[in-house]
Structures are given as structure tokens and as C-alpha cells.
């Protein structure tokens, strides 16, 4: 996929992130991307400011009667439970970007890798989300080449560490690469370290699912 198409698709992903229509795995991927890429963070900030402005400009429509008092009553009952529900456990593996750690508590970069080729290993990520085909981490050894492959489903890849190059470009930490269904590429990891990427694939089975529709739509 050429550079301009990739930029276009990332812009669309950011808009869908802002309006909340991404499936969980892609939402986490985009959130992680934002935490690593100031330019995209800036775009999201602008989209949130714009959303706030559009909300504030909307012609007021009254809430049902007594809704404020009902809310305060609820707040007073909730007061005691507050501490429990705010108790978020985050993965303490600090090699990973924070958004990913917040969602995927059992992720561990030191183990769970399954070797799938020379210099290449994967681990499946469980988002507890049935909407998605698959989400995986891939680890590519320095200078290792992933055998040329095509994709059965559209795939969005985010570089978490290191970098790689393929026929279409070079990608470093925080960069997103997108492979369309049927696209063939041969990624090669940079020489100076191993490369870890997060790849979300719509999978061959769920072409009619929300992700398939989303990506098909993005790519059209």
C-alpha cells in the first residue's frame, strides 16, 4: 500500500476512533499508536475539541423530569462502592506502551512466544472481544525476513518497538502499516534490534463482520 493511501487510512482510523466505532482490538491499536505518535495525538485532541464544541453548540433538549435529583441520589448510593470500581489493575510489564497494558492484562513479552519461522515468533492477544478475527504480536529477529506472504483478511499493523521495511516503505516505533486482502509483502526487520509489532487482522472467516466491513470500507 503506498504512502498516501496509508496516510488516508490512518486519518480514517483516527476519525473512527474519535467517534467510537472501532472494534476493541483496533481501538486499542489506535490508542497505542496515539500514545507513541505526537502528530496523531494532536489530531485526536483536535477531534475531541471539535466534538466538545459541536456538543456545546447543540440546541438544548431537556432531560426527563427530576433527572438531576435522581442522579444525585444515585451518586450518594454509589459513594461507597466507588473505591472498588476504580480499582483498575494494569499489567506491570513496562516494556509495553501503557494503553496496551491497560487492556491486555496477561500480556508478557518475556514468554508465551510461539516460534513460527526462522527469527519469527508470535503470540495471540485476547481482548475478550468476539468481534475481531485475530490480534497478534509478532517478534522478528534483527535482520530477519518474514517469508513473502499474502493476507487473507485486511490487516492493520502497529510497530511497538524496533522497525521493519517492506516493498512499500519503512516503519518505526508508533508507525502503522496496512495490508489489504491479497496484498503480498516481505517485511525485513531492521538490523539494530528485534522488531515487535501488533497486528489486527479481520481473519479469513469474518469477512462480513464489523471489522471486515470497516476495513473494506476504509480501503475502497
Amino acid at each position: 500500500m503506498n504512502k498516501q493511501n496509508t496516510i488516508t487510512l490512518v486519518e480514517s482510523l483516527l476519525i473512527d476512533y474519535a467517534n467510537g466505532s472501532l472494534p476493541l482490538a483496533l481501538e486499542v491499536l489506535v490508542e497505542t499508536h496515539i500514545s507513541m505518535n505526537p502528530e496523531s495525538a494532536r489530531s485526536i485532541q483536535m477531534l475531541m475539541q471539535l466534538g466538545g464544541a459541536l456538543m456545546e453548540n447543540s440546541e438544548p433538549i431537556s432531560m426527563s423530569e427530576d433527572s438531576f435529583n435522581k442522579l444525585m441520589a444515585e451518586i450518594d448510593t454509589l459513594q461507597d462502592e466507588e473505591k472498588i470500581s476504580q480499582n483498575v489493575v494494569s499489567n506491570d510489564n513496562d516494556e509495553l506502551p501503557l494503553p496496551l497494558r491497560n487492556y491486555v492484562l496477561d500480556l508478557d513479552l518475556s514468554k508465551n512466544w510461539r516460534r513460527i519461522g526462522i527469527g519469527l515468533a508470535e503470540q495471540v492477544i485476547h481482548f475478550g472481544d468476539a468481534e475481531i478475527g485475530s490480534a497478534k504480536l509478532y517478534k522478528i529477529a534483527p535482520n530477519a525476513a518474514v517469508p513473502s506472504h499474502s493476507h487473507e483478511g485486511n490487516e492493520v499493523t502497529l510497530v511497538l518497538s524496533g522497525g521493519f521495511s517492506d516493498e512499500y516503505g519503512t516503519y518505526g516505533p508508533g508507525d502503522i502499516a496496512i495490508q489489504e486482502t491479497g496484498a503480498v509483502h516481505k517485511p525485513v526487520a531492521d538490523a539494530d534490534g528485534e522488531c515487535i509489532v501488533l497486528a489486527v487482522n479481520e481473519g479469513p472467516i469474518v469477512l462480513t463482520g464489523p471489522v471486515g466491513r470497516l476495513l473494506n470500507m476504509l480501503i475502497k
Binding site: T8, E11, S12, I15, A18, N19, G20, S21, L24, E27, E31, I34, S35, M36, N37, P38, A41, Q45, M46, L47, M48, Q49, L50, G51, G52, A53, L54, M55, E56, N57, S58, E59, P60, I61, M63, S64, S67, F68, L71, M72, E74, I75, L78, E82, S85, Q86, V88, S90, P99, N102, Y103, G128, D129, A130, P210, N216, M217, L218, I219, K220
Partner: protein, 209 residues
């Protein structure tokens, strides 16, 4: 607002914002930002009520415009305001104005509702998160200017472009409806929205010069 209230807000703000808070800084806060800070610092119920009465009818209206039904919209409003009450102490006016902050919470609440498995987003997913990678010096002044510029740009948009901008926030199903009604491929609808957003961004950059 009478003078007594202003004095009270300003003195509470000094404690809420620390000793670095100056009149200059307060000039860059909207009335709503100040009220939100009061809720954060004092759990001030009358400040919270003012916020509620200002924002919920607008948020409800906005949610209806982007595709929620009435009961979902009201529920999201209530859940959002519970979160506003609980998280107000984490509100940082340098990152976002009250309307941006509340919009972002409402966005998360709406996703929680739409998501099939109903697994809520982590609470850590609060709006201040989005600003963490950005460091641009005089944050409060700059943030205030940016939000003012967006309001200014929105006022001058041609109606067709304003409609496209709003539809960036539509639910997925509404995008499909537009595509059906206008007989356009969904991808075309999406790219028009993207172009409208880019055009607005360029307009904002020109306002900066």
C-alpha cells in the same frame, strides 16, 4: 453571576490550581472550566448542578443528532455526569476545556454501551490521557485559543460542510444510512467526511497565522 460568587470561585480556584494560579490564567478559563475545578476541589454540589443544567441538555441533543435514541441518550448523559462527579479532581484545564473533557467521557460511555460484550473501557481511559504526549509550553493559553478558534471556524462553515463535520461523529449505522440515501458507496461517504475534517484543520491553521 454576582460578585460574591466570583470571589468565592476565584479563591477556591487558587487552592484548586495551586499557588501558580494567576488572574491571567483565570482569564483563559471559561465559567464551566471554573465550575468543574470547584467540583474537583470541593465536591461542590451547586457548581455540579450548574454544569449539569448546562451540559446534559446539550449532550442529549448532540447524542440524538449523531444517532442515539432518547433513552440511550439520557442514560449516557447520566453515566457521563456520574463520571464527571467522580473524576472532576483529575480534570486538568491545561489539557482540555470543560466541554472537550465532558465530550470525551461521553464518547467512552457511549462505546461502553455499544460494545457487544459490554466490557467497559478501563477507568484509566480518562480524557487527560489523550494529551500526555503533547508538550507545547504555555498549555492553558494555547488550549484556550485552540478551542476558541474551533468555535470561530464552526460559525463560518458553509452548511454542507458543517453537516459533513457533524457526521464524522455519527454512529456507524448512520453512515450506512447516508450512503443508502445518497446512493454513494460507504467509502465515498467516509472520504468526504475525512476531507471535510482536513479542510477544517487547514482553516484552523490559517487562523493561527
Amino acid at each position: 453571576m454576582n460578585f460574591g460568587v466570583v470571589a468565592e470561585i476565584n479563591s477556591s480556584l487558587d487552592s484548586a490550581m495551586g499557588s501558580g494560579s494567576s488572574n491571567d490564567n483565570q482569564n483563559n478559563l471559561s465559567e464551566w472550566d471554573k465550575l468543574l475545578l470547584l467540583v474537583g476541589s470541593n465536591k461542590d454540589r451547586s457548581a455540579f448542578k450548574k454544569l449539569y443544567e448546562h451540559f446534559t441538555p446539550r449532550l442529549k441533543s448532540f447524542l440524538l443528532r449523531i444517532g442515539s435514541d432518547v433513552s440511550a441518550a439520557e442514560e449516557i448523559c447520566q453515566e457521563t455526569m456520574i463520571m464527571v462527579w467522580r473524576r472532576a479532581e483529575t480534570y486538568n484545564p491545561e489539557s482540555a476545556g470543560a466541554s472537550t473533557w465532558i465530550f470525551t467521557i461521553a464518547r467512552n460511555k457511549r462505546i461502553d454501551k455499544l460494545r457487544k460484550d459490554n466490557r467497559p473501557l478501563p477507568d484509566l481511559n480518562d480524557p487527560s490521557f489523550y494529551q500526555t504526549p503533547i508538550d507545547r509550553g504555555d498549555d492553558l493559553v494555547q488550549r484556550f485559543q485552540e478551542e476558541k478558534k474551533i468555535q470561530k471556524a464552526l460559525k463560518t462553515l458553509p452548511p454542507e460542510q458543517a453537516k459533513l463535520i457533524l457526521s464524522a461523529y455519527y454512529e456507524e449505522s448512520s453512515h450506512r444510512k447516508i450512503a443508502d440515501e445518497s446512493n454513494l458507496p460507504l467509502g465515498t461517504v467516509k472520504s468526504r467526511i475525512r476531507l471535510a475534517i482536513n479542510r477544517l484543520r487547514n482553516q484552523l491553521e490559517e487562523l493561527e497565522r
